[in-house]
Symmetry: none
Subunit: 140 residues, 4 copies
């Protein structure tokens, strides 16, 4: 389980990483093991649709058990499959990096983090920084 | 505009109010003037669907320009009307107290706060406390 | 057919009627005989969700061939039926006055007008004023 | 904020530009900074589905903070990503030119205009003309 305290640390540290890397304004969501939001923040200057994008990245990761990079690889090979996943999950799957699985010490998935705002790769880097700052394990 | 800094203050203060009142675990969302999430937190022990409920309270308030208490009064008189609103807004309208409009000094709506977890009246009280702690004006 | 020129007259005149009656800021949509938007305006100060409400009033009128007042009567007697209509038409039916059928000289439905912002009855009065100003016939 | 007065100027001027360029019948929507309609017009002779297309162009621009041309570039490179965006935003993203961001003097996004009816490039040109006629700044 990701506590609200850990979720706050994840968001705070992901945003700090974004500042350090001089990224565009970021938005960060932390989802639980069922894909439901625990916490979310959107920085000033980000476009209004960032919740849906951040959640889509993290939701797909949790529901499929695949981080965004693996989803993107699948999409590159089989776009219609990821399109079908999007439909099957009510439009809530966004298959690109920045959707990062959160694991505990035993390697069990306990949630996911979704970051959006800069390039997908930079988004993922900020997500990983956030997860590790909370003493948890990232699978990007 | 509600800055992310103000949104954090709203959430922190609403949750502190909940603790002070000894409420059940709360979830709090802050939406902008277009109904889009700026920040959200769900306390440990809250049920997983709380984002949708909190957002539904705040979203209805923004989109209709009516706080949750006024929506509830309408629903009590004309249940089918609020049912139709739920349909018109894609299922995102939850017409009970705890959806509170956020106004600026001029009385303009700049967003809304949705709180869920305890009774609707207690939820609304926590929302108001959060909004006022941020130096903004609540219409519950 | 309602031409764009007539649609503009309807909106302009409905808004003028609202001003004359000292109503709250109004939003007005004109739909064609298929329920599709021809023109829409939302006055400054109206809440952001007014397009969905205005369209819902007019859309239900066109699709069911019943003005808002008749839909409301049905909803008062059989709320579940109008709830089902809402679902059947993808959430786009709002069964209250302010959804007014537009007819030609022969009594054929050529579209509908939806007005929202004040009480449902006042909304309907503004819609009728707009339709008549365009030389068309209103069934409210 | 885009006032209804400015929105009318945008639409009138975009349609005039279309006439001047001898384009097919155009449809023009103006959305606020939250993606909600302020005004819309569909010229006689346009097909009935034009509201959804115009809104889709403008809605995607607001929600993603990217004009239609940038969305199209992304779609050309990563079709599945823009497909996922369409799902994430309930089918309301149409990633082609003709969705143009409206900015104020400070460069802040205050809404978007969507034009449809002719080629995407011509649609965008008409949108830009409308925005500039209202004294605002276009990002196409």
């Amino acid at each position: 389980m990701i506590s609200i305290r850990k979720a706050r640390t994840i968001i705070k540290s992901a945003l700090a990483k974004g500042k350090e890397m001089e990224l565009k304004p970021l938005s960060v969501v932390v989802l639980d093991a069922g894909g439901h939001p625990i916490a979310f923040e959107r920085e000033d200057g980000a476009s209004p649709g960032r919740f849906e994008i951040a959640r889509g990245k993290a939701y797909g990761a949790v529901m499929l058990g695949l981080p965004g990079s693996a989803q993107m690889a699948r999409a590159e090979n089989q776009a219609y499959f990821m399109g079908a996943m999007n439909g099957a999950f009510g439009g809530k799957v966004v298959p690109v990096p920045g959707g990062v699985l959160v694991k505990n010490r035993k390697g069990e998935v306990i949630g996911a983090v979704g970051v959006t705002g800069d390039t997908s790769e930079n988004d993922a880097e900020a997500a990983v920084a956030g997860i590790e700052a909370a003493g948890l394990f990232a699978d990007a």
